[in-house]
Symmetry: C2
Subunit: 312 residues, 2 copies
């Protein structure tokens, strides 16, 4: 079903453009490890978005990038016109999770081909209405945004490194996007406040109409002009690898927004729930394992289950 | 309004019986301190329950217990027949919060009159349909429960100390109650599992039909035969003192259950939301400060606001 749907979508115009990192991840958890698996913010976000709308990626890999990972992208029905392959090694990340599978430390990062990445959008991407600037240097996010003709809804994700090291550029970016997604720690770092409500007020003044503060396994909070929406996390039986959960969440969100087609409060809330649902599948396996087995039927079933869990 | 309502209730029969600790708390937070303020699980839980139903307390204090604190109890319209005053000093607790106002350490505990507490229920309490066995030694919770004639709904709260030190008695208690409330860390300690869903399955097998796993500022999860309910936390502008939040939550819950009068899924879910709302007022001030200014109108307004925050 899902595969058929993705293939059918292959000839349609790209509705969602996603820029970010593509990496080969080595992940250690207390229960098991994975070496050189497909990772990076785009991989998760594009795979998640693909269930909802035709999505294209803007990213770079080296000549060492395994062809079966490209095949994996194709199996998700992704448009790869914006995927560049250049001389050098692919970006690599090694991380280790604590026994709670929440806190983690980065053991190694190799930028490799990412060091000189200057994204140029294929012509066919520039008219896309929905854009996700996944976690990557704000300078690159700005460069992609500048090439979009008249996007309807732009989401940016970021992380502590950019808040600390390239704050001025990050603020320039934040002022231009419709929605910022950020985790709770990062929100406190960016806003300099303790309570998330106070953080939200400070960040709203920086420009974005929508702010999503992510809280990992506790869900997220949406702050917008029409108030707060408490985004529930779907309680999973067993968490295997939380890497990329935020990217799955953002990717499924922007995809669902595109499918819904309206910038309404209702579409935003429903799309956030879809983000939560797809992220919950993503963390059940390493890498894209949780998403490659996934079908739209399973997404719809879990979405309905999640709706029941918040119904009073 | 609220005060009038409480006074009107004074002559009615006690519907909710709450047993637990009464203490004089000394609390240090990064922003401010409070010395010898009214605390203990009963104080918070009874005050919270008082908004919804006539509530009576089973507890003990020493001769040093300030009379203005007794007056405070009376102002909440509480039935004090079960409050015993004995020779000796009142239970005391001193704690200090980290800068996140979440993690805390106990600096001192003086059991005092609590050491020999053997609760005997007033005759007028034994027919009450709703019972909250707030945090206290399982042996005392069992002793109170044995004196109740035919309670309709019994909730027990507990903590890590009892899980570690008096596990056998705690298990005996858990098998007899309708609902257990416990925080996420304690659930993992009790069940020996990591994922909360797995913990819930283990604890359900111990007997209670309802399990509430509390997650502090992230809300709570209800596990029952009819599935999971994700209990949202109301996002507060400024957290001042989280002490007693779980007791406010449980107290308002049992009070709202009594007011609703039915052991239905709907009443349980709505009552949990009321618990969340009252707890959110409680943490805005030290001791009972957040509750003593509170009115039913303010509770209803925040309840409606919280419902909107989870509506899709």
């Amino acid at each position: 079903m899902a595969a058929a749907k993705r293939i059918r979508n292959r000839d349609s115009a790209v509705k969602v453009v996603i820029v970010g990192s593509i990496g080969l991840d080595t992940i250690k958890t207390p229960h098991s490890n994975a070496a050189n698996v497909l990772g990076g913010s785009i991989s998760y976000a594009c795979a998640a978005a693909s269930f909802f709308a035709r999505s294209g990626m803007v990213g770079v890999v080296g000549y060492d990038f395994p062809s079966n990972y490209v095949k994996m992208y194709r199996d998700f029905g992704l448009d790869l016109t914006g995927l560049k392959r250049v001389e050098g090694r692919t970006f690599r990340w090694t991380g280790e999770y604590d026994k709670d599978l929440i806190s983690r430390k980065t053991l190694a990062t190799e930028l490799n081909v990412f060091a000189d990445f200057a994204p140029v959008l294929p012509e066919s991407y520039c008219d896309a209405p929905y854009v996700l600037l996944a976690n990557i240097a704000p300078e690159l996010q700005l460069r992609v945004l500048a090439q979009m003709k008249s996007p309807k809804f732009v989401v940016a994700d970021t992380m502590n490194m950019w808040i600390n090291q390239t704050r001025a550029q990050l603020l320039k970016l934040i002022a231009k996007v419709d929605m910022l997604t950020i985790n709770d720690e990062e929100a406190r770092l960016l806003a300099g406040k303790t309570s998330l409500k106070e953080c939200a007020a400070v960040i709203a003044a920086m420009g974005p109409k929508y702010l999503v503060i992510k809280k990992g396994e506790h869900g997220a909070l949406l702050f917008s002009r029409s108030g707060i929406f408490i985004v529930p996390a779907f309680p999973v039986d067993r968490l295997r690898d939380p890497t990329g959960a935020g990217d799955c969440f953002a990717g499924a969100f922007i995809g669902a927004m595109a499918r819904g087609g309206k910038i309404s409060d209702r579409n935003v809330r429903q799309s956030l729930l879809f983000g939560s649902v797809v992220a919950s599948f993503g963390v059940q396996e390493f890498s894209l394992g949780g998403l490659s087995k996934l079908t739209m039927t399973a997404i719809r079933e879990r979405y309905a289950a999640l709706r029941k869990m918040i119904a009073v």
